[in-house]
């Protein structure tokens, strides 16, 4: 995984201005693995965690400042609500330049 992911990230960061990295993970282990890899490269991601057990178990949207204490957390079945929270979080964090 390391070599392939490293090559991929090299490509992405060489060719694009990546203003945020978001991990959308359904499996905690893979989230941790990817996070560790990114942080080793000094890339601080955000996490959009999709818990096991289906949509009813909710969505967590966590700030990298409080990785294990969700800054934006919800237990809802409505995906729209999750999306609204994501939007608010992004606006707060990045002051979007909607170019």
């Amino acid at each position: 995984m390391d070599d392939s992911l490293a090559a991929l990230l090299d490509d992405v960061f060489a060719n694009y201005n990546v203003i945020a990295t978001v991990i959308v993970a359904a499996v905690p282990q893979s989230e941790e693995q990817i996070t560790g890899y990114l942080e080793a490269r000094e890339i601080t991601p955000w996490w959009l965690s999709i818990a096991d057990g289906g949509a009813d178990s909710g969505v967590l949207f966590r700030s990298s400042n409080t990785p294990w204490e969700p800054a934006y957390a919800m237990e809802q079945t409505q995906e729209d609500a999750a999306i609204n929270i994501m939007a608010a979080a992004f606006e707060q964090r990045f002051l979007w330049d909607p170019r």
Binding site: L5, A7, N15, Y16, N17, V18, I19, T21, A25, I50
Partner: protein, 473 residues
């Protein structure tokens, strides 16, 4: 440079002239920027709105090569008269705009995603209004278009091509994200007219060949082996007025000094030279410029006035061919010898006399040519590096890493991931990488059509133990 896992970045180029055949200076310039994006591994599409004479009445033979050279290639038919003089004193910036271009761009941008959009010439800058917000808009000016009328009139020449004023040209600059000037002095002028980043990308010829200099090998010239000077140019007022004036003055020097000299003039400029001189040979339009450059000892560029950069100067330097030039003709290149920085046409003639009689050490010309060529090549590389930095900075993206092949829509988690990514795409184009411990083989489960679910997104995957995928808008 992009490797194998990411899909190639893409660019569409709009130009009033094709990049091939490379028989005119402005085509060489289009080729130069096109070649750069190809070297950067961009997938290149090309939209031609032909303004050149050879496209006016027929489809030239190069059409087939053009169509085969690009990911997408189209010719936008002209729906209006071309090369029209200004309706008032100056052209309005969109006075040559053709709505056919806009219609084609609307269709193209609705059906294809492009990371960048390069427009050649500021009078086509309205095209930027049709590009999506996240497509980086690059304007290659080729030439400053303001103050051209005034320059021409100062030299008693009727204004031709496109001439506007600074207010109008500023409108064009401001439509872009990055402006490319063809020489340093134009960069400085453009920077006073717009807040957009301006890059100076001088012309340089990629067809540089091993140096050779007959001048260096020849200790003076004789009537049996005269000094052969070359001039190549298109049919336009700048070339015609300058070369006619030069030949009239040079004729007196030839007579006075009994000069062993032959001047070869190539290109359609010959059609604008009525006078005949015994020391002049008009060869007219040539298919292969390499043969022309190989047949002369040096290039003469006796321009008292002109606009933009002299592509012919770059072509000669690339071939290690000495250039005897006025300051105006060498502008945009760095001179290393006084023969490259002559103050007047009379000074050019004096220099020709000195070269013909071996009074200028050939080694000096060779070294100066080599240094100027090296400086020009370096300037191009520096400009490309700067351009690359600007392109990357303007290509703002979200990187989304997912751990499941959500596009298979196997369960509600996939739906949730897909909707989240779709939402993120509303904010900014995402690069979506799918990392999975298992191979993702579409044959195991046929995914629902992606394009219908994600509009123009595309997805790529490799069936291997680790799979990386990317979706972009």
């Amino acid at each position: 440079m992009s490797g194998g896992m990411l899909p190639r970045r893409s660019i569409v180029i709009l130009s009033p002239t094709p990049p091939i055949p490379r028989d005119y200076g402005h085509r060489n310039r289009v080729f130069q920027t096109l070649a750069y994006f190809r070297r950067m591994n961009f997938a290149v599409s090309f939209l031609l709105y032909p303004l050149d004479r050879d496209w006016a009445t027929a489809v030239p033979p190069c059409y087939g090569d053009l169509a085969a050279s690009f990911d997408y290639f189209a010719v936008v038919p002209n729906s209006r008269l071309l090369h029209q003089p200004a309706r008032s004193y100056h052209h309005e910036i969109d006075e040559w705009w053709d709505d056919n271009i806009g219609q084609h761009l609307s269709w193209l941008f609705a059906h294809r995603r492009f990371d960048a959009f390069l427009v050649n010439y500021t009078y086509l800058s309205k095209a930027f209004e049709f590009a999506p917000p996240n497509t980086v808009k690059v304007l290659d000016t080729h030439d400053l278009l303001s103050d051209r009328r005034e320059l021409f009139e100062k030299h008693g020449v009727p204004a031709e091509f496109f001439y506007t004023n600074r207010d109008q040209e500023k409108i064009g600059f401001d439509r872009s994200d990055i402006v490319i000037a063809i020489k340093q002095c134009e960069k400085q002028i453009i920077e006073t007219m717009t807040d957009k980043p301006v890059i100076c990308l001088p012309y340089w010829d990629d067809r540089a060949v091993d140096g050779r200099s007959q001048t260096a090998e020849t200790q003076g010239f004789s009537h049996a082996r005269p000094l052969r000077l070359g001039f190549i140019g298109a049919y336009n007022s700048v070339n015609i007025v300058n070369i006619r004036g030069f030949l009239a003055i040079l004729a007196r020097y030839v007579s006075l000094y009994n000069l062993p000299l032959e001047v070869l003039i190539a290109g359609n400029v010959c059609q604008g030279i009525d006078e005949d001189y015994p020391f002049v040979r008009k060869v007219g339009f040539i298919e292969e410029v390499a043969d022309f450059y190989a047949s002369v000892d040096a290039i003469v560029a006796p321009l008292e006035f002109s606009t933009g950069i002299k592509i012919k100067t770059g072509e000669a330097l690339a071939r290690q061919l000495p250039v005897l030039a006025t300051r105006n003709a060498f502008d945009g290149f760095r001179p290393y010898h006084w023969t490259q920085d002559l103050p007047s046409v009379a000074a050019v003639c004096e220099t020709i006399v000195q070269v013909a009689y071996g009074e200028v050490p050939p080694e000096e010309l060779v070294i100066a040519t080599r240094k100027a060529a090296t400086a020009a090549a370096r300037a191009q590389q520096q400009a490309f590096s700067t351009l690359r930095g600007h392109l990357v900075a303007a290509s703002r993206r979200l990187l989304v890493i997912v751990d499941r092949p959500f596009w298979c829509r196997a369960n509600s988690l996939d739906e949730l991931a897909a909707k989240s990514i779709e939402f993120l795409a509303q904010l900014m184009p995402p690069i979506v990488c799918c990392i999975s411990e298992q191979a993702i083989r579409p044959s195991k489960r046929t995914p629902r059509p992606f394009t219908s679910e994600f509009r123009s997104w595309t997805i790529h995957w490799r069936p291997c133990s680790m799979t990386y995928s990317r979706i972009t808008t």
